[in-house]
Amino acid sequence: MKIWVPMDSAAKALGADDVARAIAREAAVRGLDVQIIRNGTRGMIWLEPLVEVDAGEGRIGYGAVTPADVPALLDGRLNSLGPVDMLDWMRRQTRLTFARCGVIDPLDLDDYQAHGGLAGLRRAIAMSQAEIVKEVFDSGLRGRGGAGFPTGIKWRTVSDAVADQKYIVCNADEGDSGTFADRMIMEGDPFTLIEGMAIAGLGVGATRGYVYLRSEYPDAIRVMEAAVVIARQRGMLGPDVLGSGRAFDMQIRTGAGAYVCGEETSLLNSLEGKRGTVRAKPPLPALEGFMGKPTVVNNVISLATVPVIFEKGAQHYADFGLGRSRGTVTLQIAGNVRHGGLFETAFGMTLGEVVNDIGGGTLSGHPVKAVQVGGPLGAYMPVSKFDTPMGYEEFDQKGGLIGHAGLVVFDDTADMLQMARFAMEFCAVESCGKCTPCRIGAVRGVETIDRIANGDPGAAALLTDLCETMKDGSLCALGGFTPYPVMSALTQFPDDFATHKEAAE
């Protein structure tokens, strides 16, 4: 009998390790022949720890399982969810990037290959650099970290650059609240990221890669480091990638708790061992990146999506989506929501469908008040904008941004003035200090919001003006996008700002 118990952080945070130990203990007492596999998560976080049992009839799910449930689980008396693949949450998805996550043993390279792994890299090995870049371009893949820049164009720039050394740098500094897709794939299917980076290396002529992984993710660091060692032992990395005669190797580097290092130029400085301050662009990192050399800087999900594009073909990927947003979006549904987790689907579903239909509304049962889409720098979307389709341009037109596709749901108890203040406070704490609009503006922003709270009638206009300055004058998205949550809160939820005024009067 095979039993899967996730080793994903979210599952562990909800007791998966205790459940795995209880199963091992109980099985030993009963003399049962049980193989316990620690998989990634399927993404249904409200059901974690989600245990799957295969006693010969496919993988049957049980969740959320506690150690006390284990005797009943092994007796076959515990109520099951049925076959996991048949659950509504799973059936409604288009799992391309996350096809293997939660299915395989994350550190079993044979299991990885048995589920389509390495097919993309093998195909890329048979292609020229230009063909590899064209394939990515044709897929329509855009940067999943938030900026949405076409990945193929970035790769082409690096590929065309002439240099003695080029680099692939993976941005795994997933600091945005409400996002966990990077963490999930690194913990649940690390080889797909390694494979994507190797394909990128072949495509642009880079032989070295780095994953800059935030220190807040110790479990992901452990899994990625183990996976790199295995990949090297098995010839997936090294001087002769899968016998291609071409070299690519990589290292995992740990961040040090600075949110701004998720910005690509700040990340590069940090990787070089400097203060994580933002660099002015140009020069583009594609031409002068890590160590001043041409560098591809891509988000985890962008790179982890590359293998499936090469496995199934660019057209297959591009056939999903909406408008200029091609392929799938890995939605992370979080905050005050009944069914939170990861849901991968073609671009195009509306915000309201995601929150109410997929997410099941709020956890508290109160009405939804706002949804922050795209992390701490994303706008608060009111219910009146729930018809906005999930797409880069579609969100832009509604004054928002998709970012890394994290959605944080708030119920009617949320105080939007406090959320706006928090956005400014966070920007002040995390500002790298290089540019004045961000460094000083965020501090003034907190003060100005406090003035609004204290009933100062002129403060709202001042805040609006300050936000304009931050938006236009900041070097990077930290100072430049903090106005999104602040201004969306102010304009979409004026009552929360007015109440304070009246209370003071």
Partner: protein, 162 residues
């Protein structure tokens, strides 16, 4: 922030000990952060004595090394308490009552953010997202993640009476 809790006496390692810890990283591209992590792993903080050693090894100014250490939230200039509790303050955890839970924990321990209990048992730090946004409020105790926390759960984990 630490005015009410005396910082535990910081051991001051010899230059040679520091060099031994960081030497394996000399061949890396951009070795400073890996070196600082290694030093903090050994001594629980980055001792002042490390600054001239690193500056010398990497051919940097002392001010540059100091500038890097002080930029990052992770690096401490004095040891933390025996246990380190990080509580998420970010939006997804706020949406499920994280702010109230964090305040209750701080009140129970009698410390502010970044503070250490007078007996040196626990240091409480804010963290902005642990990637546990669908099972918040979230915390991390000595590197171990805990979801759906409340003040009682944290008290139980810390072994302090409610």
């Amino acid at each position: 922030m630490l005015e009410h809790a005396p910082a535990p006496a910081a051991p001051s390692p010899a230059a040679e000990e520091i060099r031994d810890v960081v030497r394996p990283f000399m061949g890396l591209e951009g070795p400073l952060l890996p070196m600082l992590h290694a030093i903090q792993e050994v001594w629980g903080h980055v001792p002042q004595a490390a600054v001239p050693v690193l500056a010398d090894l990497l051919n940097l100014g002392r001010a540059e090394v100091h500038g890097v250490i002080s930029f990052y939230h992770d690096f401490r200039d004095h040891p933390a308490g025996k246990r380190v509790l990080k509580i998420c303050r970010a939006e997804a955890c706020q949406a499920v009552g994280g702010t109230g839970v964090a305040q209750a924990v701080l009140d129970r321990l009698g410390v502010d953010w970044h503070g250490t209990t007078p007996d040196g048992a626990v240091t409480v730090e804010p963290v902005y997202c642990l990637g546990l946004c669908a099972c918040g409020p979230a915390a991390m105790l000595d590197g171990r993640v805990i979801g759906r926390i409340d003040a009682d759960r944290i008290a139980a984990e810390l072994g302090v009476s409610a």
